[in-house]
């Protein structure tokens, strides 16, 4: 079960690759295609839902391209679901 995820705004991303260097799970890669502005944008490759929403990528992103989401279930709700 995913605990978090990110979205990367391809219009803002300039393909500087800084986010790829800080992801603790190495989930961010550079796309093989070009964005409309001519950069290879960063993309999240997370088939096993490992992203925790730790915000390291959004902290280092110079172009504020990354929005971070995190699961906000309360502890009680998690216990009930289990």
């Amino acid at each position: 079960m995913a605990r978090g995820t990110i979205t990367i705004d391809e219009k803002r991303c300039k393909g500087c690759e800084l986010c790829t260097s800080v992801c603790p799970k190495n989930l961010i890669q550079m796309a093989t295609y070009f964005s409309a502005r001519g950069y290879r944008p960063a993309i999240l490759v997370d088939p096993h839902a490992q992203c925790t929403g730790c915000m390291l990528c959004s902290t280092i992103c110079p172009d504020v391209a990354i929005t971070v989401y995190r699961e906000m279930k309360s502890r009680k709700a998690q216990l009930v679901a289990a």
Partner: protein, 258 residues
């Protein structure tokens, strides 16, 4: 993947506009803009903030911030901020200056603003070159560092030694809060954000002049990738420009966190 249980924990701060910056890929100006915007939002002072834009790469900063801005002549941002703050003492006034602007043509202005103890905040972005004009040698260029006007490396016999602005201004009686930070990794970015918050807090409490020097990268003019530029900051710039709190006056101590 995005599910219904997920909530946004980080998004673009309100104090930044939707305009995409003109900075080169990997330029840390974007990081520093974002930190200032986040602090303005968190402190709830955006509506009463006036920024002063410099000359340099960050000259278009007023397009990116959703708060009032004035544009100063090259190096004169502290002088303009002095006027703004004296006319509008209830406003938060900050300047955002690069090293070519603050440490070269604007040396007189910054030294006297600090000496007078003007109640303004200065964010000084030090990337060791003149970025906008094509990467020429700046007063902060490291000894031996190659730039377009020192192609064999800065020769200290010919060009002298770099200026350490934080150490210089820390000697001023009027300065209340002078620190140096860096944005080369997420931990240091968070520390920089705290320092920006402290500087504005010092100003809000009329404690005096505050300056945060931020070591920044310039991948384009250094001729490196964005990742190697951050490595250069860490390995080459940090030994010459050590991070730390160079002055925290007694009047400012109670407004400093962390």
């Amino acid at each position: 993947m995005l599910t219904d249980d997920m909530q946004v924990v980080y998004e673009c701060p309100d104090a930044l506009t939707d305009v995409i910056t003109h900075y080169c890929p990997g330029c840390t100006h974007g990081v520093i803009h974002r930190l200032i915007a986040e602090v303005l939002d968190e402190m709830g002072i955006r509506e009463k903030t006036i920024g002063v834009a410099p000359v340099g790469c960050s000259v278009f900063i007023y397009n990116y911030f959703d708060c009032d801005f004035a544009q100063a002549a090259h190096g004169r941002a502290p002088a303009m901020a002095t006027g703004l703050k004296r006319v509008h003492p209830d406003r938060v006034v900050f300047t955002y200056q690069g090293d070519g602007d603050l440490a070269a043509i604007g040396t007189a202005e910054i030294i006297h603003a600090a000496a007078r103890g003007e109640n303004i905040s200065v964010f000084f972005v030090n990337n060791a070159v003149y970025g906008m004009t094509g990467g020429q040698m700046a007063p902060t260029t490291l000894p031996g560092m190659k730039t377009t006007s020192s192609p064999t490396g800065r020769d200290v016999e010919l060009a002298g030694f770099p200026l350490r602005v934080s150490e210089l201004l820390a000697q001023m009686t009027g300065a209340a809060y002078v620190v140096r930070r860096s944005v080369h990794d997420p931990g240091n970015i968070n520390k920089t954000k705290k320092a920006i918050r402290n500087a504005l807090n010092v100003q809000l409490n009329q404690a005096g002049f505050s300056l945060v020097e931020i070591l920044s990268s310039c991948p384009t003019n250094w001729g490196t990738s964005a990742l190697d530029a951050l490595k250069f900051v860490k390995e080459q710039m940090l030994p010459f420009y050590p991070l730390g709190d160079y002055k925290v006056a007694d009047s400012a101590k109670s407004f400093i966190v962390g």
